[in-house]
């Protein structure tokens, strides 16, 4: 039996050391490891998929860790195995802004059936997201049936996370002033639910007002799915209030999607979209590294930018240069 087969077997039995080693292989930047990584994924893919994949986002300070810990402990008590992953392309620069250490989720970190993995390093979102996506498959093969993917509410990482999960939850706060905390462009429309955290004590009435305002705003958008009206909910992660409601909502969503035959088809679409994203990224690299293209790209881009070359003419010239090779 090859080393990779042994590693795959270890992952399948739920051995934590094997899982950690497998993830390290997937995350490796050494090109010599990529064949083994592909082979490992090939072997474990049939064992993956039996899970609910939940994306969670929100700006720093919204209480993501507290919420994930509350939800995670709740799920462990119900007998689930929970893996918590992260997508944060800035973590390398900032020294690990999320999930950099396990002390943020003290209780979960002590549980045998919880697996916490910080964001893979890298400043390139595509690369970071690929690694997290494949780590998710490894965790599923290891028996984790709830996968939580956390991301920070800045940049494009939310779009990347939404593209790898079944359900995307946006955490928000009711701000101190009258103004609500603005939702970032594009995010309201990928959320399957909006959850207003810290709805506790004297903050509760303000949170309820915010909830109504978000719900009104959500009604102005055509639903992204005909079978799901995106709701706005309240919770207090600190006081473990509203956690069951969120979980029941997720179960309701999953049941609805399965009933409408959209659960598996969404995953299939995510997988093919992901393949095409990687193909196109690589094609672009090939194109930019082409000698003929590289020799003229600066001049052509400048021409387009300063309005002396029509974009269609510029594209044609570059493509002809590429085809000459």
């Amino acid at each position: 039996m090859s080393d990779i087969q042994k590693l795959a077997d270890g992952v399948r039995t739920g051995n934590i050391r094997s899982l950690a080693k497998a993830i390290t292989l997937i995350e490796s930047r050494n090109p010599d490891h990529s064949g083994d990584a592909a082979s490992l994924l090939d072997q474990l893919l049939p064992d993956s998929g039996d899970s609910i994949r939940i994306g969670i986002s929100g700006v720093p300070g919204v209480g993501k860790s507290t919420f994930i810990e509350a939800l995670g402990m709740n799920l462990l008590q119900q007998g689930y195995k929970v893996a918590i992953l992260a997508v944060d392309p800035s973590s390398q620069l900032s020294g690990g802004s999320i999930l950099g250490d396990k002390t943020r989720m003290e209780n979960l970190a002590r549980e045998a059936n919880a697996f916490i993995r910080p964001s893979p390093a890298g400043s390139n979102l595509g690369g970071v997201a690929r690694k997290t996506r494949e780590t998710m498959l490894l965790c599923e093969a290891a028996g984790y049936n709830i996968i939580i993917v956390e991301t920070v509410g800045v940049g494009q990482s939310e779009i990347a996370v939404a593209a790898m999960v079944d359900f995307f939850l946006l955490l928000q706060l009711a701000n101190a002033g009258d103004e609500l905390q603005g939702i970032k462009k594009g995010v309201m429309e990928i959320a399957d639910a909006i959850l207003i955290n810290k709805a506790e004590g004297e903050n509760r009435p303000r949170a309820e007002l915010a909830r109504q305002q978000y719900e009104n705003a959500l009604h102005l958008l055509r639903p992204k799915n005909d079978h799901w009206q995106v709701p706005a909910l309240l919770c207090s992660a600190l006081h473990h209030q509203g956690i069951d409601e969120v979980w029941n909502l997720i179960l309701d969503f999953v049941a609805t999607m399965k009933k409408e035959h959209q659960f598996t088809s969404k995953r299939q679409l995510q997988a093919t979209d992901w393949m095409w994203t990687m193909v196109m990224d690589n094609l672009k690299d090939l194109f930019l590294q082409d000698k003929n293209v590289a020799a003229m790209i600066d001049q052509v881009q400048t021409g387009v930018s300063n309005g002396t070359t029509p974009p269609s003419v510029a594209a044609k010239r570059l493509l002809e240069a590429f085809k000459r090779n």
Copy 2:
């Protein structure tokens, strides 16, 4: 002087026949014409750009034609030359759902300083959008200093139009019932203003209520530009009410963007984005037409879709097949 030089000169003097002939050349699907079309664009590009480009969208029945006619007549009276173009990839199939004939804008159609051009034929959005974008440049070279690009509020055409204009206006209605007319996914976030039409007679209070609701919803989204809070306005295109306010708003927007040095830079970014879109579309075609890729693509896609091949492994195999040529 070559025929193309003569045609370019004709366009520059504002000759309508030359402009129509030039547009026909740009729209031609005959590959033999593409060299001439590129040469014409090259010659006229330095004369283009001196305009305000306005995108207008809204579902059928919202009153786009009536509004464009009202705004257009207003602009003609102020001495502007107005070109009205369209992006509608479905027009070929539906027999011209928008701007298929000039009778929709009877008054404008009779004016010497208004130029109305229906959507180019084609079911492929990229191709239709390219032709409209280049027709816009020809119209500018012919002296039209207001370009209105109309599109229907279905499909992805709004995103394509927003990518070619300075200002994007979304027309909405206050619905008969309590429910507001939902705004399509992604569109609220590309709009620079929302205009509620048919705010007239007994419909006026409902329209004002809708306006407030949209304005509240817009406040929940972080503005796409720090220097512009997207407003919601009322108008009655039928009774020519609120048209001046819309025009003043557009002038205000243009002045603000110019003051912030964002007017030209946005156009530069649109031009380079456009070039890259065309390059990537063509690269994808090259890839799909590659013999090695074509021989395995179905099998690989099926493997990804049914969960037996990891997307990263599939992408790698396809790229290796492509590179073998």
